[in-house]
């Protein structure tokens, strides 16, 4: 995948560069806009001054025509010359700054002003205004102010346009920044969050003891988070290995107890074979062919029985890779009881098994769950010195879709103060007889199956262990 081929360091650098470029562009544009407004305003200020001066000239002109006062005209010429000098001086500045006026127009405008002033000056010199000139003066005066006013209006409108345009560009820039952030999130940062979320889930699984689900993931890290994720899967693999070793140690501990029971269990079929052989030899002459055949068949049946006992034990003791199979919990209970059958008999423990009808199957590692059950049965038997009763009850918890197995004994019970510690590794009440691995390993196994194991106990009354394992529903079938 492309997205994971980029390291986070690169992603952050690319994102920062893109953001910096966008911000520079926006600032540059802002600078250009404001600069344009500023120069326009300076130009407008000049025109505005000129316009005011023209209005004053018109006022002086009107005064002359009303009162025939020549000093008004002198004043007009004075103002006019000053403005002419200003406009002449600012010519190139204004023409380049003010887009609303061309060189020709400007020259025309200046020409008008010059002509106007000439006419007025002539009138001042002659101390009178010929009627033909009067009309021309009035017209020129009017045109001059009209031109400057028009120019002013036009330029003000231009400034207002620039301001509106800048405003729109500002909003657009915000939009662009927003879009870029969304794009960066989508293509750069979302994946970081996603990968961290995945990592979080994996860490949670490890903390819950579900090492296998994490350990089986293969990761070729291409970025920093994936390096961390790979470290987690490596850790889970190592933990899984350790746990398997622990499970095996727990199993060996159970095996020590089982083996004496099994040795005794072998006693019966061995005795049978021995007795058949002795009887066969002793009564050889008296036995018919059919009877002899029956005897040998019995020997065979008994040797099969021995084989089965030994196989069952070997099967239990063998270290295996975790493998999930669909199985009925009842079968698991029977298989486990078979291993401790003799122990129950020797210890005078009666057992009652109740398996609810139509239980859904569970998907479990048969050997591991058997280990848990054997361990619980042995604990129960050891808690009932001098005999007692063992109740095994399997039911279905519809609400949580779990198969529930309760193992209850009528033994000595567990002291309240040590009840919270019983699932701790190496915690034992059996001094040298126990390793303290049984229940902690059982706990680990059940958690690995996404199940729960809990205990209820009352001193002197007995103990109940409750195991819940997710049912293998039809919808979850593979």
């Amino acid at each position: 995948m492309l997205r994971s081929a980029i390291t986070i360091r690169k992603r952050i650098i690319i994102a920062a560069v893109i953001q910096a470029i966008v911000i520079c562009l926006i600032c540059g544009f802002g600078y250009v806009s404001f600069n344009a407004i500023l120069t326009k305003l300076q130009a407008i200020e000049i025109i505005d001054d000129v316009n005011i001066a023209f209005l004053e000239m018109r006022k002086a002109e009107k005064n002359f025509f009303l009162y025939r006062d020549l000093s008004s005209l002198e004043e007009l010429v004075q103002i006019g010359k000053k403005q002419y000098a200003v406009l002449q001086h600012s010519r190139s500045y204004l023409v380049t700054r003010l887009h609303g006026i061309s060189h020709e127009e400007y020259s025309n405008w200046l020409g008008n002003l010059s002509h106007y002033l000439d006419l007025v000056q002539q009138a001042v010199q002659k101390k009178e205004v010929p009627p033909r000139s009067e009309a021309e003066i009035r017209k020129l005066g009017h045109d001059l102010t009209a031109q400057s006013a028009t120019l002013l209006v036009r330029e003000r409108k231009t400034v207002s346009d620039i301001v509106s345009y800048s405003l729109i560009m500002l909003l657009a820039s915000l939009g662009i920044i927003f879009v870029i952030q969304v794009v960066l999130w989508q293509y750069f940062f979302r994946f970081i969050i996603q990968e961290i979320t995945i990592m979080g889930k994996m860490i949670k699984m490890v903390s819950e003891g579900r090492f296998h689900e994490v350990a089986v993931r293969t990761i070729a890290p291409t970025n920093e988070i994936q390096v961390a994720v790979k470290a987690i899967t490596d850790m889970a693999r190592e933990l899984e290995k350790r746990e398997q070793e622990l499970v095996q140690s727990g199993k060996l501990a159970s095996l020590g107890v089982l083996i004496s029971g099994v040795a005794h269990e072998l006693g019966n079929p061995l005795n049978n074979v021995s007795m058949i052989a002795q009887t066969y030899l002793s009564l050889y002459d008296l036995l018919g062919d059919e009877e002899k055949k029956n005897y040998m068949e019995d020997v065979f049946t008994q040797s099969e029985r021995i084989k089965k006992i030994v196989e069952n034990l070997l099967d239990f003791s063998r270290q295996k890779k975790q493998e999930l199979h669909d199985i009925q919990i009842g079968d698991l209970v029977q298989r486990s009881l078979a291993l401790v059958g003799n122990q129950l008999k020797i210890s005078k423990v009666k057992h009652t098994v109740f398996i609810a009808d139509h239980l859904p199957p569970v998907s479990v590692d048969v050997s591991q769950i058997q280990q848990v059950l054997v361990n619980l049965f042995i604990n129960a038997i050891q808690a009932m010195e001098g005999g007692g009763e063992l109740f095994i009850d399997a039911s279905y918890d519809q609400e949580h879709d779990m198969v529930v197995l309760a193992v209850r004994d009528t033994g000595t019970g567990i002291k309240k103060e040590i009840l919270p510690n019983i699932f701790d590794p190496f915690f034992t009440t059996k001094s040298t007889k126990g390793t303290g691995l049984g229940l902690s390993v059982s706990y680990g196994i059940i958690r690995q199956h996404n199940g729960e194991i809990s205990v209820e106990s009352e001193e002197g009354q007995g103990t109940t262990f409750i195991i819940k394992i997710p049912a293998k529903g039809k919808d979850k079938g593979e």
């Binding site: 019966n268 005795n271 049978n272 021995s274 058949i276 002795q278 009887t279 002793s282 008296l286």
Partner: protein, 121 residues
């Protein structure tokens, strides 16, 4: 009239073989794999000799021994066992057990013991 022997063992083969061997010695043999039924049988009918396993479901060999002692003090009891603990042995001796055979049982020795118990040797 043939002497009556009761054989009790969870294992059918033990019962069958003991019956075969002892019948060959002209004894009348009755066998039970269910010790509860055997106990009920003892209560209705005396036997000349009882051969019983020690560890059994339902009623144990020790209970059979006690019941036989209570009902028929003259009847002798021979016990077979796959796992004889010292405690069980002592208890059996106190209950005046006649003989004790660890499994696997040597049939000739059992036969000799039966004959001796019944005064046929």
């Amino acid at each position: 009239m043939a002497k009556k022997i009761l054989v009790i063992d969870d294992e059918k083969i033990v019962c069958d073989m003991a019956k075969k061997i002892l019948e060959a010695e002209h004894y009348e043999v009755e066998t039970f794999t269910d010790s509860q039924l055997a106990l009920e049988r003892i209560r209705t009918q005396p036997f000349d000799l009882v051969v019983t396993d020690l560890k059994m479901e339902n009623v144990s060999g020790m209970d059979i021994l006690k019941e036989v002692n209570r009902l028929y003090p003259e009847t002798r009891v021979i016990m077979l066992t796959a796992y004889a603990t010292l405690d069980a042995t002592i208890e059996a001796i106190r209950e005046r057990i006649y003989d004790f055979f660890p499994k696997p049982v040597k049939i000739d020795e059992l036969k000799q013991s039966v004959k001796k118990a019944l005064g046929d040797l």
